[in-house]
Subunit: 250 residues, 8 copies
């Protein structure tokens, strides 16, 4: 409901094509619809740049399938995160073109012809961080970005990271993913001139407190261009990077 | 020290203009210098897009003045945050063109002809959040962004925020600043299609735990395009937004 | 044991109908009884407005059945929360009119003719919050309130909430249920003129810390009429709203 | 901006008295105004039942005076909390009828003829909790409630509380204020049949963690009708109780 | 190794019955022995008043059986806490007189003729606290105390507790066991003139944080004679009470 | 108000000496009185074994003086903790026999002829723990115990503690006071056969978190007879030890 | 890539044996290689003194087997920690000489002729700490140290520890392992003149918070030569001790 | 009191030169002495390798002076940390050769001819970490180590650290000091083959929580040879490094 539609409504009201009550009602009727388990917000693609994303954790395969189909019916690209294979089966029944990303625990459906643009780089500290990194990668991809990945480049062997430097320095945004002490974000942030989206992971044990150690490290990064998303939130990492990438254009 | 300079060094070495030891030494001599209280990293402007920023808290006015002058001598723009007027006096003695931003507790020196581009929007929930917001504003400005501000638009009166919507929706990045329950970031994040940099503030008392409540709320935002920086870190908010703004270009 | 009964006891004592020891004993014998697994407080309905509620978690189906029957024997309405179907089976054996609320994980037995009065509104941010919301709904209902529900109206799409506004503004109390960043309570609190009982839920992951993020957000709400109950405590949300609703009367 | 005004606007638009652009503009112009330090929300009294309250902490006396006068100019009752005497002096200069409540650290201005109704009871555990209790009392009073207070009735001498029972049982809402172990809320909650608003205070030391111990105790209250507000938030305690009291009417 | 044995050793050394090296060795050989899985400290009964207690959690049934038999071989009473029935089976094989306390999850072996003395009272807030309370009861019993128990006397119905008062006031020590808000310890502490050992339990959910809320409440008790042991540590509650009881004598 | 007085009241009622209303009123009139700043509980000495203790922190010298005099008027011993010299001056004006304990920050007034009995031992780990230890000592003393002290016997030089062993082993209760890692309680608990009251102190820095490290260590003591009180609560340490000491008698 | 190899590269460049681009490329090509699941850093043995260690938790047996074989192929000693027997089976298939340490949950492969030197002592407080202690022992061993162990010597029976003193005092480094209150590190630290590496364990319950109590105690140790590693990190304990041992030489 | 003195005592006893009681007494009389404010442990130098160190925080200048002189009288080197200039003045009065280290807030007295050996390297991330680094440097020095320092080499400009690499790689132990995200320890740990003692500092703000972020990062370091001491504990950093250095010898 932007100003243009409002002006249009008012014009039609002024012209007598719509009664006052019809205008009031129209202003109420925003573009979402009720299905059994969720109130879907089709409007979001316009408002936020990408449609509603399905966060599968805590939902049944049936619910995931139902919501997925509802979103697919609007002819947009669909993304479901934290998905299990069982959920994918429920989705695939009604959406045979949907793809399951095993490592990244995601389901995508590409309905709009895609032209990948720009460059988002994803770096991950250890092999255990890869599921989160893959969630970021799939997300950035479905949002239209070219993506490069650099895994197992933790700071305990900083030369591994330095070897990847030229690719990182060419990216438009970098997603830095690490658990344990989360130092990767700071080191990367000191090496590149673009925004770094830091994703702490719950990888670690003991005093890592399920990712809190990495989260705090990233929030306190001494490098300037670093911002942080929730623990294990690979989706947010990829999404923010893709938003930046998309704005810059081709 | 990029590949080009390396190749240049090697050429001169191959040509016999430089001995091997001279090359090794040159590769060691990276562009930072020692002054009494800090090792200044002039290289950072090239590597990260903006020169080293002076975080004044915990430094004496003399130290601030000394570091400021060293950075100024490199003919770049200079930014000092968390500055007091007393620090400014120490800076101004040697840098008469430096400007003090009282509300934002910052000192700037604009040495390169500036052309402000693009659009960064800064929203703050309450009047007590304004110092953090102003730090963000000054930072984004010195980094070359046009900035609009919307203060006192907290979610307890959501119509105040909605009234500012069209400006927010035209920005390239939004900095959302709030203490207490930090809900502003989520509401803004649901209304715009560009990255939202959320800055929790220590405004509040009791169970706000010095900004932790707002920080956690922002990290858990149900809106997708939100990333978070440290509590009260207005600088990081403005800097990240300006990085995004700059990449998009004019 | 109120003043009237005390005066009555004393009168009978003065009249010689009761010995002193009998009076002392009577004052000791407050209206609770011992069954095997719990000391039931039948007096509570008088003292607090609703009888003792069975919190089933950590009890065996047999214990739940036993306590339920003991409460039912006092001819009052009975409510058991956090119940499983297996517990319900144990209850239903002896109380065939008991009803199981699957989504809200509750068992009720309506023994007193009910006249639902007033209006309690329940809003929940996401689909995962619905079990807590349903617990609130069943509780408010068995306590005699008319209830309306508005689910999946989280603040990331604030127009969804605004669309429900007129119903919310007609309620006598609103229960606002949300996990993640818990911002719903603040936005609702800024829109209505009645008490808002905020229920944080453990929905979320990472830095939501099992509901702590939402709890803190709600405690720090910048809206004035908001009070908070324990994480996932839908019962307390519904109960407090119903207490308010009942006091106002028809 | 309710439906009636909207319909009125549209009628005038339809009638040609207003252009479309004027309507759009009017819909933007919601009833708040900008003064130097805050965006005042005069609309709140209609929407929420009481006008905006000034939280003085972190504001200068000048800012408090300015905001107070702006609110006073709207002919409503005004309340400022966490006020110092110095702030009061700034307020009193322009508002000679304003009253300073030393113990409760509040400033009030009663502009509308007041008729105190109903009954709110305030209980506080120890003498150190009195400032918070007084803030609650002043708030409930300015919101139109008759208030009774019972101070120094902590649970370590439970007979002191029991002696006050009949007054508590006649109240429409009880505000229970305690620091240290915060047990007062549970004991009171088990004795009355009306909502108990629990206010944890920062009174205590060591493992009280500035009120966290009391806060947690109150959130975990085994009594059913207890809800909780932020640490030391006497205002919220009194406000919520007064909201309930007001709804019930005379 | 007390002064008497030392003097004895030295006498024998002086008399030539022991060489110097034998004395040095004897002073090293303190009364513990090595078995496969633990270094048993038979000396503790002398030093601390009760032999080593077996904490079964994290041990295999075989280990429990082995340690139990080693302690039993020293003809003292034996206590094993946090035991499962499977562990008991392993114990009973070699110690047919051992007893399993199902509710209190403990195994005891009474080998010394017992004369129960004095009076320890155990109060527990809710039915879910009973396992911890029973652990306390079995412990106090095996340590020679007469024990009375009062379960389900939580403070939300304070009259239930007051009804038990005369027994509590006759005890030599009271163990107060509660989860959730842990207020029981304070109320009991205000009613008796003997030491109260408070045992927080992990009963509760959400913001009870596994017993932390009750622990903090008990540590901050406004009643003077309250000391606290670890969460769910019924053993320590019973043991400390029994220590006090035993010192007073018959 | 014990059973005897109740029976006496009832007898007089039965005999017509008292009306029913007089009895009801008498039962209400429990032995506490109102002074300006606190509701004093003279009854506590009977109920709990020692009169109300004044916790001075957060009170003005005038308040302390007033409460102190009110308690002194009841001819009991009086103890005020966390007192400053300024508070003592206010007390001494009206109570010339009051004594100020500089190191222990306490004021006492010994009005009942004292016969010190038994033996309480107080051990403190470091010199910085002495103020808390002295508070414990003064408290135990005014409660009638003979007290021995052993300061600066921290576990980093365990021989210092072992050298004091024979005195510790003769005490009826030991108060173990330590900050930093709080290990003293465990080592002492393993060496004596009487209750150990552990008092964590806020001595330390960094990860001692104001005494939390010591508190947790003490709660997790692997020695059996250890119970814990609040951080820096020397009073509770001395009081609990004295309670135990007093029960045993001469 | 040390200075010598750099000079060598440059010489060959100067001599024309290598082109400039080849030199730049060589400087990029640091000695690590990519296998499917991890980027192995063979260089680490040179740089850090021991090759990369496999942390098995969160890896599949296949991944462990693959990485193990890759490391083994470099003819170095290999260590895998937190291994299950299932993982060992996967390793043993390709590395028949690998050894599984059941208690210490580790796999080792000794390929270089070993000469154990020096002396590392490992002390553990309780039987439940043994798995962590064994991980430390296996680690120190594979790193070439002679190791002595002293288990079940917790401070609640400090004589048990003192009996082991002469061995501890002869070690070059001591690893002190304890859960619960973690006091062992402080007592040991006060008795020896060599570095103590403290390893907190997650042994305990309730307020041990999964090892946090022991961790904090160790960080706050009043003994000077104590440093701390992560909770349950027996590997780091053994590794640090072995590093010290190795530096001292035979 | 080692075995030799014990054997000597026993010989003299056997020879009749000492009575048994004299031996017992001698064994009690361990080498510490009482002065007014502390029990000094002269024995520690033998047992632990360096005499008792004075932690000045919380002591008066007089106490510091008194303890310093007592330690100095034993002809050993003396170290006092966290000292103010005022404390130094009190020390210098009686110990004119004592030296004050302004930046490191330490006082030293070198009484034994010193021969500095080996090599300890100290790296600090930022200029604000220098006081802690200087405390480490002075400590290592007084303990006999040659020390090199590398300040302002934080990871946000990792080339600054790499430029110092050859010195770091030649040290026998490295002390890595950093606040904020504490990543320095991990990067250094990955570059050297000797033990790294990590010292988190309280430098930072907001979510650094007074050094907790750095502490957690360091405990979770992905590099193997890192151990950690308390926040801001430069002394422990220097002391542990010096212990290692000393063991290796010249």
């Amino acid at each position: 409901m932007d100003e243009k539609s409002l002006q249009n409504l008012l014009s039609r009201c002024q012209a007598g094509d719509l009664t006052i009550d019809e205008v009031v009602a129209a202003m109420r009727r925003l573009p979402f619809e009720d299905i059994a388990s969720a109130r879907i917000d089709h409007h979001r693609a316009l408002r936020c740049g990408f449609g509603e994303v399905i966060f599968c954790a805590g939902k049944t395969p049936e619910q995931v399938g139902e919501i997925f189909s509802a979103l697919a019916a609007a002819d947009q690209n669909v993304l479901a995160t934290r998905a299990t294979r069982e959920m994918f089966d429920a989705v695939a029944a009604g959406n045979p073109q949907a793809v399951f990303w095993d490592m990244g625990r995601a389901i995508t459906l590409q309905q709009k012809p895609s032209e990948q643009i720009g460059h988002v780089a994803i770096v991950a500290a250890g092999t255990s961080d890869i599921p989160v990194a893959e969630e970021a990668r799939v997300t950035a991809m479905i949002c239209g970005a070219n993506v490069t990945t650099h895994y197992d480049v933790g700071v305990a062997g900083v030369h591994r990271l330095l070897a990847e430097l030229s690719d990182l320095q060419q990216a438009r945004a970098v997603v830095a993913i690490a658990g344990m002490e989360g130092a990767l974000a700071s080191v990367v942030g000191g090496l590149v001139s673009v925004p770094v989206i830091a994703v702490p992971t719950s990888v670690g044990y003991g005093a890592s407190f399920g990712g809190v150690a990495a989260l705090l490290a990233m929030l306190n990064s001494c490098a300037s261009g670093v911002s942080v998303v929730n623990i294990d939130n690979g989706f947010a990492g990829g999404y923010n990077a893709a938003l930046i990438n998309r704005q810059i254009g081709k």
